[in-house]
Each structure stands twice: as structure tokens, then as C-alpha cells.
Amino acid sequence: MLPFRIPIRDWISTAVDYLVSEYAAVFDAFSALVYFLVDNFKDGMMYLHPLALIIVIAAITLKMAGWRVALFAVLGLMLSENIGLWRAFVETLALVLTAELLVMVVGLPLGVFAARNDRFHSIIRPVLDFMQTMPAFVYLIPAVMFFGLGLVPGVVATFVFALPPLIRLTNLGIRQVPKELVEAADAFGATGSQKLFKVQIPVAMPTIMAGVNQSIMLGLSMVVIAAMIGAGGLGEDVLRGIQRLQVGQGFEAGLVVVIMAIILDRITAGLGEQRSTT
């Protein structure tokens, strides 16, 4: 219809190029941070003998989720090791933990701020809604735009994808703290930060923990997808299985992802429940 093509791609490239060159230091620093975290998690876990790591994870699971889940964890992890996916397992776990750490560092304060500031809340809410309706896949695009291929964009995409539920549930949890509790604190002469740290956050903890749980689950699903842009780990094995039509290999990797998902889910769900029932 139009005699020329609208050059969206050129605009975007120009903008991204500009940002990347102008803020190179920021991007570099961020990349370094991500590598630092992932490498440390990974090296730490690889340093241990698989059996030792299995025992550590089983102990945590036992404490947080009971002996049934702990038994499941031991069997599941031993299976993962047996089928030769131990390294991939550790890589994926390191990725998830890194992304989740960043999510908590950013998401908790934002959630708290959203709960205390209606204006900020009304701005961020549609953004979060929008983010959650987007298919996971789409997050790969900006990540790749700014960080190219590899580990860092994988973590970034995971981070962005896993962030909304934590902000949302932190905000919700704090807003749902009964008014009387806050008033009681006021009546005793509590300062703003005393109210926040002694009443609102602890009372909201089960909901915040549900947010942590949800974001870890989303993060894990994203980490698998992020293998498409070279993030590595179990996703890579799944991807390879699909690409080479090696159904069995893909299935094995998928199975290990499921095992990890169940263990992480039970541990973090246990966190929230423990807070609310004791």
C-alpha cells in the first residue's frame, strides 16, 4: 500500500546500538555480576561429590517438606546422576538460583514500595499484567538485543519473566495485612520502619513466600526455554533431543527438569506454610 517499508528494524537497531555503546560499562558490569553468581553457584555445587550434594539437598528437603519428598529427592537426584545429566542439572540449578536471587533483590523492594505507594502501584500494575500475558518466548528478544547470545541473556530473560509474581504477591501480602495490626503498631507508637519490619513484612511472609515459589517455578520454565539462546544446562539437552529427533534423550532431560521442579516447589511451598502455621 505504501510505496516504502516502515523501517522499524532500523530504528530499533539504532536505539539498541546507541544504548549498548553509550552504557557499555553498565552492561559489562551486569554481565560480570551474572557470570560471577552463576559461576560461583556452579563451582560450589560441582566442587562437592554428587552424593554429598544429594545429601545436602535431601536434608533441606527433609526440613522443609518432610521425609516423603526428601526420599523422592534422593531417588530423583540419583537417577539424574545415573543417566549422565548431573552437570546439566547443576548448571540449570545455578541459573535458576542466580535469576531468583536477582528477582528477590529487585522484586521485594518494588513490591513493598508498590504496597505503600498507591501511585506507583497504579503505574506498575498494568505493566505487570502486560508482562504476564506475554508468552515466555517473547522475553528472549530484548535479552538477545542487549546481551547477544549466551548465559547472560538467558539469566536476564529468566529474571524478567520471573519478576512479576514476586512484586505482585509482595504487594498483595502487605496490603492484606489486617488494618488493625498496623493500627495496633501505630497505637504503640511504632515508626514507619518498625511497622514495616516488625509487622507488615512478617505478617505478609506466607504470601511473599508464595511469590518466591511462583517466581522460581516460572524461572525454571524460562531457563529451559533460554537454552535456545545458548544459556546451556538441561534445556540444551531437551533442545538437542528435539532438533535431532532423539526422543529418548529429550525425554530424559525433561524428566530431570520435572524432578528439579518438584523439589524446588516443595521446598519453597514449605517455607510459606511453615511461617503461617507455627
Binding site: 489486617p178 488493625e180 493500627e183 504503640f188 515508626t191
Partner: protein, 442 residues
Amino acid sequence: MSDIITVRNLYKIFGDKPKVAIKALKEGMSKDDILRKHKQIVGVQDINFSVQEGEIFVLMGLSGSGKSTLQRLINRLHEPTSGEIVIKGTDIVKLNMKDLREFRQKNFCGMVFQNFAILPHRTVLGNVEFGLELQGVDKEERQEKARKIIRLVGLEGNEENYPSQLSGGMQQRVGLARGLAVDADILLMDEAFSALDPLIRRQMQDELLELQSRMKKTILFVTHDLDEAFRLGDRIAIMKDGLIVQMGTAEEIISKPADDYVKTFVEDMDRSAVLTAGTIMLPVKERAFTGDGPRTILRKIRRFGLSGILVTDSKRHLQGYIIAKELAEYVEKNKGKEDLKMDPSLVREALHVDRDMPLNEVINIYQEADYGPIAVVDAGQRLEGVIVRGAIIAALSEGYEVELNDSSEPTESTESRGPSESSKSSESHAPPDASASSRPGD
């Protein structure tokens, strides 16, 4: 007794045009009309009252009458629209937020809420030490104090339990203990016992009175239950449409309701729970002394046509009751004897009640009695007055203030001695540990 809280010309309007609403109120417009015409909600209006130190002051009224609003204004959880709230000489309306926070820490024992408002993530101990923690009291000291208060409210052994493990009544006590633990003297309680079933509620009321007799806090208590108001309150303010329509002691309100609104309240009231033995007793007009001979006593009895007489020692300590007929037979039998001594078996045990006993309990005792009037004694067992059947009936019917005279029940009344003397002596002899519910206004 000095005023600890004084409220003057206090208004609270919820809405964006408070000035308009106050102007309309002053022109005599009603709360409903203001809501309809100006879309402003009148929380409270034209409130003036003082609370004395150590007093339990009750705010009472129907739902929506402004009780909670008024209480929340007192510690400025609500910002007043206009007026003064002077607490211990400081007009708290003028304080900035920081000073207000400090003022609250120093002077308020927090607040006790209908739904407890205790922190679910903290143990009983953690909840009770909360106020002290905010004040920055160090851990050892505040825990020691918290444990003491926990014992005081009868929760020992539950220190490490979480609220979800406690019954409603126990949770309520945690809320109360949290308030009492803070070393401040004003305690605000909003419908604090409403969520409890009647039995526990009654028990909590008793406990509050008991604690109050030891801790002497100033308590501002909100309730919509008249029975509770009259049981707890040294003075009561009855509210309607944000106004205080009447203020006074239970007896004043029950005997002279200010208007029809108060009257309808009071009509539903179980009078027998409000009135006490002390309020309906009659002065003792004649009594026998332990040293009196039988003929002297008989003369005293005959002079007033009594059916019996109470015996006391020279310090008014109650010793017993002598039935006229039995004494007369004894004197008749020993007609010839000069210097006849009193036969101790004639002195029977006298039924007696404490002056603070509610009338409904007095009635129970009366029903079991087979002889004599009921003697009313003070905490030191000194005779203060007597209760006769007619007085009980009169007190339960509305016109209890009509004069109670002996002719209604001639067989059981006693005679002589002015009321002024009996009440005066009871005052001067009152021991320092006057009983729990004695009113500071007395």
C-alpha cells in the same frame, strides 16, 4: 483525683468539606441531613468530657454512634477536624508526627481490639513484649516484664505458643497483656470483649476489674453492651449520632435517663446486675451490742415492733442476729431471775452480703434465707445497713428511688440511728485495700 484526659469541642467529619458540615451542625442540622445534603459523614460532634486518673470510662451507644471514632481520636489514629484533646497537659492535636509517636509510646498502652489484633507470627511472649520492643527496652528486661504480665493475666505456660494455638479468650488476654506490659497509664479498649461468648466475657470483665484494682490504669472502654458498660464503668458516656447524650455513673443514668434514647437503652437493662447491695440498703436504725442483757435487747425490739435484731460489737463488727420470738420465750421462762445473762445459743448467724454484691446475687441469698433481714457489711465486716424484701422489689421495679419505708415490711425492719452516721463511720474505717470495684469517685 485529677483529670488525665480532657476533650473540648471535638469534631470529626469524614469527607472533603468538613467546614461546611461543622457550620451546618452548628446551625442545628442533623447528621442524616448533612449526609444527604452535603455528603459529609459526621463522626463525632461537640464532644466535651474529662476522664480522671485511674478511672474506667465507658463509651457506649448503638452501632454507628461514633464510639470507635471518638476513641481513635484520643490517640489520633484519626485526625480531629477541630477541637482540643489535652492529655496530661499536652494538646496532642498540635503535636507533629514524631512527637506524637513518642507521646503515644510514653502515655498509651496501645489499644485492645475486638478482633484481638495480635501478631500471628509472634509467640505469646513475642506479642506481649511488642510494645516494649518498640520502645527499645533491651531483650532481657522486656522479656522478664512480659513474663510477669503473662502470669498476671493467667496465661503462664503459654509463653511459647502461637496465637493460632490459643482459644479466643486466651487471645483476648494476650491483647490485654500486650497493653498492660507497657509502662504507660492510658489503655484504650474497643469492643474488646464483644467476640467472646457470654461466660468467658463475664470472666474477662471480672479479671479486668481485678487487674484494674492492682494496676490502676486509666481505661477508655468502648462497648455497645449496656450490661458491660454498667459492670465496668466508673462513669459512662452514652453516644448517639456522634454526640454524647448523657454522662454519669451507672446509678445516675439508670435512675435519671436524660432522654428517650437513653431510656430505651436502660429499659432493656437488667437492673439487678447494676444495682448493688450498697445502693438499696437501708440504714440500721437499732442494733443490739454484744454486752447487752436479754431484757435490754427485748426492750429495743419491742420499741420498734421488730421481728428480730442484729448484734454487733462496739466497733460495728457484725456478730449475729436474734429472733424476737425466741428471745421473748427465753425471758418469759426466766421471769424470776434478776441479772439474767444472755444465752449465746440465741444469737444466730446473721445473713450478710458485701456492699458491692450485685442485686441479682443478693436475691439468690435472700431466697435461701428463713429468718431475718440481710445485713450489708463493708470489706472489714462492719455493719453498714440492711436489706429488706420490700427494698429489693422496689429496686427492681423502675421507681426504686421512691422512698422505701418500713411499713411495707414491718416484721423485718430495724429502727433508729441516722443514715449519716452509718455511712460516715464506714468511710472512716475503710481499710486501705478497699475492694476491687470500689469507685474512685466515691
